[in-house]
Every structure is written in C-alpha cells, then in structure tokens.
C-alpha cells in the first residue's frame, strides 16, 4: 500500500513540544522521501535507557503506515510510548491522507462504563495537549477527569491534541475516575468524537451549548459511532451553559436527549457574554446558576458548577463550594488536583445531615422489610423523594446503608 501524499507544500511535519518544562512530551520532525530508507535521530533525556525502545516505537509506527523512506528526528523529554505514538501519527497525518491508526495497547480498566448518576462532585480539567499532567491525574481521587480539546489547546495544535487524547483514553490509567472529554464546538467537535468515542470515553462535555439542536447533533454522531465501533457502554453528555442564550434554553437542552446526565455552567464566558465583571460574591451569576440548577433538576439531572480559578486560596474555594451546594449544585470543576479534596470535603454532608439521613434510611428499610407502603420517622411521614435524598446523603458521606 502506498500513502497518498497531501498536495500542499509542507515538506517537514512537526508535532509535540520540547521545551524544558514539557516533561513526558517530545517533538517529532518527519519528512518523507523517495529513497534512502529510514533515518531516525534520537535526542533524548533518557537516551541511555530508552533509545532502543524509542527507535522501535518509531519504526513500528512508520511500518503501520507503510512508510519506507523518511527522516525522523525526535527531541524527547521522557515521553511515554503512547505520547511518542500520537506525535508520530500527527506528523504523518499532516503529510498524507490516511485512515490508518497507530494505537497503543488498550488498558482493560479504560473500557469500564459509568452509570447515569455516578458521583460527579469533582472533575479535574487536563489540557489535552499536555501529557505530563495526565499521567498522575487519576491519583488524586477526583470523581472524574476531563481531557480538554477546547479552550486549553492552541488552535494550531487541535489535530495533534485529538490524537494524544485518544491515546490517553486507551493507555493512561486514571484509577477509577470517570473519563470525560471536552470536545470543540461545531464540525471540529464532531471530528473529536470520531477519535474519542471508539476509545470508551464515558462523558462528552459539550461547551458553549446554546440550543438543543447542537446537543442532538452531537448525540446522533455519538450513537452512530457507537454502532459502527460496537461500543456497548453508554456515552453520557454534559452540556456546558456559557451564554445568556444558553441559560434561556437550559431546560430545552437538558431535556433534548436521555443521554444528558448533567448541566454544567461556565461562568467566565457567561459573565463576558452578559457584560458583567465576575466577582467573588457572584451576584451577577446568581440568576444563571439558579436557572441551570432548576433546569437540571426539572429533568432529574445533576447540576455542575463552574471552576474556581484561584488555586492558591483553599479557604475561598471551600466557601465557594459551600455556596454552590446551598444553591443545589452537585459538583464543581477543578483546575488543580489540590482542589479535589477541598471540594469533596465541602460537598460532604455534615454530621447532623448524616444522622438525620441515617434515621430516614433505617425507617425506610424497616418499612420495606415489613412490607409497609408508608415510611415514618417518629410521628412524621416520609415521602419517597426524602428517602432518595437521604440515600444520596449517605452515599456522599461514604456511609454504608
């Protein structure tokens, strides 16, 4: 098989990063040629220990695409194999049109599914094109991690980031965190889905969602990809409301598909849209937050709050989460691993709440055992939603029921 070379004039393709701070990444330069075989130059911080492995990975990759003649230079800063693979593939795809993929081994645990009401108190944003942050991201006990292809990736890096995120979904162990991907808007976002849906992503975050149609387009693409790639797991969608129009259409968006599991709000874009500066008190976003919570709850979904951007101030974060919880939010985004514990602590029920919930749950179980239709604590009748909330409290508190 021969590759179909792209028509444009690019002779050498580059992918990846090689600044001092770009640990676990590499920069690959690839030029295809007509003869002379493969000429691979390895410059690496770990050359003495991994030169052979790096050469093998590059050679294997070039073989996958039947490339027999090429100059490859890798400037490596300790990149794991799946990163080198993504960078090489990104180079090849700049130079040639091919549907072939160069995939790392699939970790079994990365095929796990999640349920609709999975705990989503914290979800850690990871810039999609920065491998050093992904490797240990799952260690910090967040409920979810988000591999971001949208705002944290420079426009000219979108294609290489997509391949890196795809490979991360297969090869990086996130230690039980729900695996989410924030895709781009529009056509580019659909292309993102093509790459990540076959890799068992659990949740797709749809940014700047303003209409149910946007959501339906994404959902349809997901369902067709699931069919083609025989993906049995559900793929959930979390639209992010980030504009005045999005707030107005929040309910329509939330109810557009049974695969929507939560409504999230993004306040940086929202405040820019309404033309108000974002303040610590958050008066300017009170309406939007309440609408989003209300729309989510009207559809039986989780409501997820925006990120808190001051990563040095844990006390302020705690206050912020408590305020979110009071409004009815179930979770919050994180931009630093240290925020996770604070968020979990703030969302955790108080001793008093747990005690009350325990009584309700016990009464419920007792009634169930006796076959009674009505649950009572003392002389007070307990409605089913109260039981449901009590069960949720126990779950949040990590208590056995």
């Amino acid at each position: 098989m021969t590759l179909i070379m792209k028509e444009h004039k690019v002779k050498t393709a580059y992918a990846g990063q090689h600044e001092r701070a770009d640990r676990s990444d590499c920069r690959i330069a690839l030029s295809l040629k007509k003869s002379g075989g493969l000429d691979i130059t390895v410059n690496s911080k770990v050359k003495l220990l991994f030169e052979k492995a790096i050469r093998k990975t590059l050679t294997d990759g070039l073989n996958v695409f039947s490339i027999k003649h090429a100059d490859v230079t890798i400037d490596d800063n300790g990149a794991p194999d799946y990163v080198i693979m993504a960078r090489l593939e990104a180079c090849i795809k700049q130079l040639a049109d091919t549907e072939l993929l160069f995939l790392p081994e699939q970790l079994k645990q990365n095929m796990a599914k999640t349920c609709k009401d999975h705990m989503r108190r914290s979800r850690l944003y990871l810039p999609g094109n920065t491998p050093k942050l992904a490797l240990n991201a799952g260690l910090h006990s967040g409920d979810g991690i988000i591999l971001d292809l949208e705002d944290s990736v420079a426009p000219n890096r979108k294609d290489e980031a997509r391949l890196l995120v795809r490979n991360s979904l297969r090869a990086v162990d996130f230690y039980g965190a729900e695996r989410m991907v924030r895709i781009n808007q529009g056509e580019r976002g659909l292309k993102d889905l093509d790459a990540v849906i076959p890799q068992h992503a659990n949740v797709i975050l749809l940014p700047k969602c303003e209409t149910p149609e946007q959501l339906i387009a994404v959902d349809e693409r997901i369902q067709s990809l699931r069919k083609v790639h025989k993906i049995k797991n559900d793929v959930w969608i979390m639209p992010i409301i980030e504009s005045a129009m999005g707030v107005i259409r929040a309910y329509d968006i939330a109810s557009a598909s049974p695969n929507v599991i939560a409504l999230a709000i993004g306040l940086e874009d929202y405040t820019a849209d309404i033309g108000a500066p974002r303040t610590k008190e958050g008066k300017e976003t009170f309406y939007a937050r309440s609408v989003v919570v209300n729309a989510a709850k009207a559809c039986g979904l989780q409501a997820i709050d925006s990120v808190f951007s001051d990563i040095s101030d844990m006390d302020a974060l705690y206050e912020n989460v408590c305020a979110s919880k009071a409004l009815g939010f179930d979770g919050m985004g994180c931009i630093h691993p240290r925020q996770i514990k604070v968020i979990h602590d703030a969302f955790a029920p108080t001793e008093k709440e747990i005690e009350k919930a325990r009584k309700i749950v016990d009464a419920f179980k007792e009634a169930e055992k006796k076959g009674l239709g009505v649950v009572a604590v003392g002389s007070k009748m307990i409605d089913p939603p109260v039981v449901k909330r009590a069960l949720r409290v126990m779950e949040l508190a990590g208590k056995e029921v």
């Binding site: 640990r23 676990s24 911080k45 770990v46 003495l48 220990l49 991994f50 030169e51 052979k52 492995a53 800063n77 300790g78 990149a79 794991p80 194999d81 490797l135 240990n136 260690l139 910090h140 162990d173 630093h336 691993p337 240290r338």
Partner: protein
C-alpha cells in the same frame, strides 16, 4: 585488579588506590580492632602565649602546615553550594606545584566544579568524599587519576577514627571565630548554623587551619570548634556566598504528586502507630520531606502530643514545631535556612548543634540513629529486594554523595518516599545500579501509586493491613512503573572502577564503573 564477590553479591576489588580493602561482609559483621588513630602529640608551649594563632594568608598557613605532595586535605561542607574556601586551597597547591593530593570533603557541591582542573592537572590524585553534579560526571567518565572513595557521613568519621584515612591538613571554614581558633556558625555574613560535621577533622588532623570572614575578640562562644585543636587562623574577606549557604526559606513541595506521597507517608506512619507522644523522627530538607513534617506537625497539634526529639537537618518548619511545643528537642546536624539558624542561635538548649559522631559513627559507643522511631530518606533507585541506591542514576552516572543515608538506615522504621518514576525512568527496578544500602535495612517504600512494606517487617504489615492504605508488593509497584514507562535498557559500563562505595564499617559494599562511550 583482583575482584571478589562480597556479601551482597557484588564484585568488588580487594585493593583501592594501592591500599588493601575489605569486601562487605554483612551488616554488623566487620569489627576493626586495635587503637584509634591519633595525630602526633602537640605541646602548648609551641603555640603563642598570647593566643594569637593568626597567619597572614591561607597560603602562608598551608606552607606552615607543611603542605606537600600526596597529602590528605580535608574540608567541610557546611557552607554548601556557597563555599569559597575549598577551591582556593587547591588553587594555592597548584601555584606551589604540589601534586598527588587527596581531597577529603564531607560533601561537594556544584560550586566545586573548578576542582576538575586540579584533577586534570594532577594536583589532586583522587577525591574521598562525595562527588555531586559536575565532579560526579567527570569521575563517571573515568577521568580521575585515582579511584574515588565514597563514604557516608558516619563512615567518614569511622575512617578517620580507625586510621583508614589520615588527614594531614584540615581546612575548616568558620562563619565566626576568634584568633585562638574557637569558632561557630551562628553569626557572621556566612552564618550556616551548626558546624557539627567538623569534629572528626579538627580532633584527628595533623594540622588544623580555621578560615573565617568574621573574626571576633576571644572568646568565641559557643565553641562549636575548639581552638585547642587549631594550629592557624586565617582571616579573609569572604568565605562564602550567603544565599547559597542557607536558603532564605526552605519550601515544601507544591507538586500535587509529591504532596500525595507525603500524605501517604504520614498516613502510613500514623496507621503503623509510629506517631505517639514522645516519638522521634528524622527527615531531610527536600520538599517532600518537609511536607511530611507538616503532616506530622498537624497530627501532633490536633492530638496535643509531642515528639521528644528530632535529629538531622533543621528548617523553618522544625523551628516552628519547637516553638509550638510539638517538638521538645531538635538535635541539629545541618541547618538549612535562616529561620533555623536563628532558632539555633536563640534557643540553644532545645536546638543544639550535634556532631555526626553522636548520631552516625560506627566507632561511637552507640548511635542516636538506632533510637529513632521514624526515618524518612530518599533514593535514586530501589530494587525488588529493597536494596537502595543514592549515588548513581539509572543511566550509570554518579551524581550524588551518600550523605548520612547509610547511617540513617539503622533507625527503627526506615521509610523511602519516592516517586514511582522520574521522567520515564522507573525508580523501582530488578537490581539497583549501585548497591549503597542493603535491603534488610529498608522497611517501607512509599510511592504515589502505592506502599510496599519489606516482607521482613511482618510487624508493620500486620499493623497497617486494615488501614485502607494502598498496600502493594514491591513487584507490583515495579510492574506498574514498567507498564507506564516501559522496561529501560541497562546502561553499559567499561571494566574500569571509578569509585568505591564504602559501607558504614569501612568495607566495600559496591563499586561504580566508568560509563561506556563517555
């Protein structure tokens, strides 16, 4: 060179730099006998009656001390990377045409890279001490004339005491001193805190020169260095660069991954019942260690209990523990930041300087270290038998000294908090590149991905088995590291032995060979 297999299975020579050496025989198996080494008898009447031992310059003092070819010159590392004295000694030796010296520093730093030219020219034949950074690279490439000898801080004391190494001239920097030679590190522009490491040097060297940039009137109190052992005092403009001697403030790590390792370490200590009223601990001044200290501090405060004593490097954090009443005594071997220097200066009863003699020396009548409940150490590699390496990296380059690491292994619970991999290089491997500490003395490895307890410590395993901590076998940790990083190829070496690694008793536990192609 005749090579034999020692008690940990490493092939080691029977001779280093022309001297017979003993291969490692096992922990606690080697017992040197006889009398301790001593310098020649001195007589007080040979020294100035007015007490003024000043020499006009370092050169003059070295000449008066009889500097000549082949001598052993010792220096001390309490000025750390800000030291301006050691390089000058060998510049003077070069100027005088002296050759074949042995440099015996207690540690070397990147600031000593200028020593390389004296190694190249033959002014220095070899180094016995530590070779950090550039000196280590130079040595690893096989460029030193003789074979380097690496010893632990305690091993250095042992070697000086049993005469394995005999110091001709000790040149000791003192941030404050009087003309008689009494000195301390608490004041002056180059203040560094304690000078505890220098005890062996001034007691056992034939000649002792004190160099200071803060000469005060007699008496200089406290006498961390006692002038009665001193031959000459040299005053110079500047012995060190303050900001490179102690940091303004040491800082805990900001890395979430390192903080996680610190948190797991603290939780392990707690689950194992090590954090109790009256316990003792030792840890370094690295970012992860400091974070562990903060977790300890929090626990002590919450439970209103106290640690009885801590040994080793002091920092602003240990000083805070003293102030809060969470720690009763800080026995200080090295002082790492300005706040700790202040604490030692103002709180001498609770925060005294001690010597390595007390804590680590093999010929001391007991060591503090064996009394310690919790010992926190680092490593460049650990193997599946819990053997540890601190001197070479996995690529074979020798870039660090041993410090007090080997000596500290004798504590009751030795814990190595290390990342599972550094920049794609797994830290846990089948066999350490250089075996610096035998696995029987390493109790626990804490990584961000799990905790492995040495199977020899069933007591610890029993204590933490229901703690909910992520307990793994060391093989599981290794497999996890290799899954992420891949299996590294082995570095290649030539047959040339570039350094001998001494155990705390003076035997050879391993050697380092020249990196191939370097």
């Amino acid at each position: 060179m005749k090579m034999v297999k020692n008690a940990v299975g490493r092939m080691v020579p029977t001779e280093i730099n022309g001297e017979k050496v003993v291969p490692f025989m096992g922990v606690g198996k080697h017992r040197p006998t006889g009398k301790k080494h001593a310098p020649n008898i001195s007589t007080a009447i040979d020294y100035p009656a007015d007490g003024d031992k000043r020499a006009p310059s370092l050169k003059e003092a070295l000449l008066k001390s009889g500097l000549k070819d082949g001598m052993v010159i010792s220096t001390h590392h309490h000025l750390r990377n800000g030291d301006l004295v050691a390089n000058q000694i060998f510049d003077i030796a070069a100027e005088l045409g002296v050759k074949g010296l042995v440099w015996l520093p207690s540690a070397s730093f990147p600031c000593h890279k200028d020593i390389i030219k004296h190694l190249e020219s033959g002014v220095i034949h070899h180094i016995e001490g530590s070779m950090n950074g550039p000196l280590g690279r130079f040595t690893s490439e096989g460029k030193m004339q003789g074979t380097a000898v690496l010893r632990s801080h305690g091993g250095r004391y042992q070697a000086i005491q049993d005469g394995e190494v005999q110091i001709d001239i000790a040149v000791l920097a003192a941030p404050t001193a009087d003309f008689f030679g009494n000195g301390h590190g608490l004041d002056g522009p180059s203040a560094c805190g304690g000078l505890g490491y220098a005890l062996a040097d001034y007691q056992y060297a034939e000649k002792v020169i004190i160099v200071t940039d803060n000469l005060i009137k007699f008496p200089c109190i406290p006498m961390q260095i006692e002038g009665n052992y001193v031959d000459y005092v040299v005053e110079m403009d500047k012995i060190g660069i303050p900001e490179l001697i102690v940091s303004g403030t040491t800082q805990i790590t900001k890395s979430p991954d390192r903080l996680l390792i610190a948190e797991l370490t603290a939780k392990f200590c707690d689950a194992a019942g090590l954090i109790q009223d009256g316990f003792s601990f030792q840890m370094g001044a690295g970012g992860t260690s400091l974070a562990i200290g903060i977790y300890f501090h929090q626990m002590l405060k919450e439970r209103q209990i106290k640690a009885r004593f801590a040994v080793g490097g002091s920092t602003q954090y240990s000083s805070k523990m003293l102030q809060d009443g969470c720690l009763e005594y800080m026995l200080d071997g090295q002082t790492f930041d300005l706040e700790a220097v202040r604490s030692m200066r103002e709180n001498r009863l609770q925060h005294p300087a001690i010597s390595i003699f007390h804590a680590y020396d093999y010929h001391s009548k007991g060591n503090f270290t064996t009394m310690m409940d919790v010992m926190i150490l680092g490593a460049t590699e650990v193997d599946v038998n819990f053997n540890g390496n601190v001197v070479t990296h996995s690529d074979g380059y020798m870039l660090h000294g041993i410090g007090g690491w080997q000596n500290c292994l004798f504590a009751k619970c030795t814990i190595l908090p290390v990342p599972l991999f550094r920049n794609r290089i797994p830290i846990i491997c089948d066999e350490v590149t250089t075996l610096v500490g035998p696995g029987e003395l390493v109790d626990v490895i804490v990584t961000e991905r799990g905790i492995a307890i040495n199977p020899k410590r069933q007591d610890l395993i029993d204590k933490v088995k229901d703690s909910g901590l992520p307990l793994k076998t060391i093989e599981e940790l290794k497999a996890e590291a290799e899954r992420i990083c891949g299996v590294p190829q082995k570095p290649e070496f030539t047959d040339k032995v570039i350094a001998a690694i001494k155990w705390v008793d003076g035997t050879i536990i391993d050697v380092v060979r020249q990196v191939k192609g370097s």
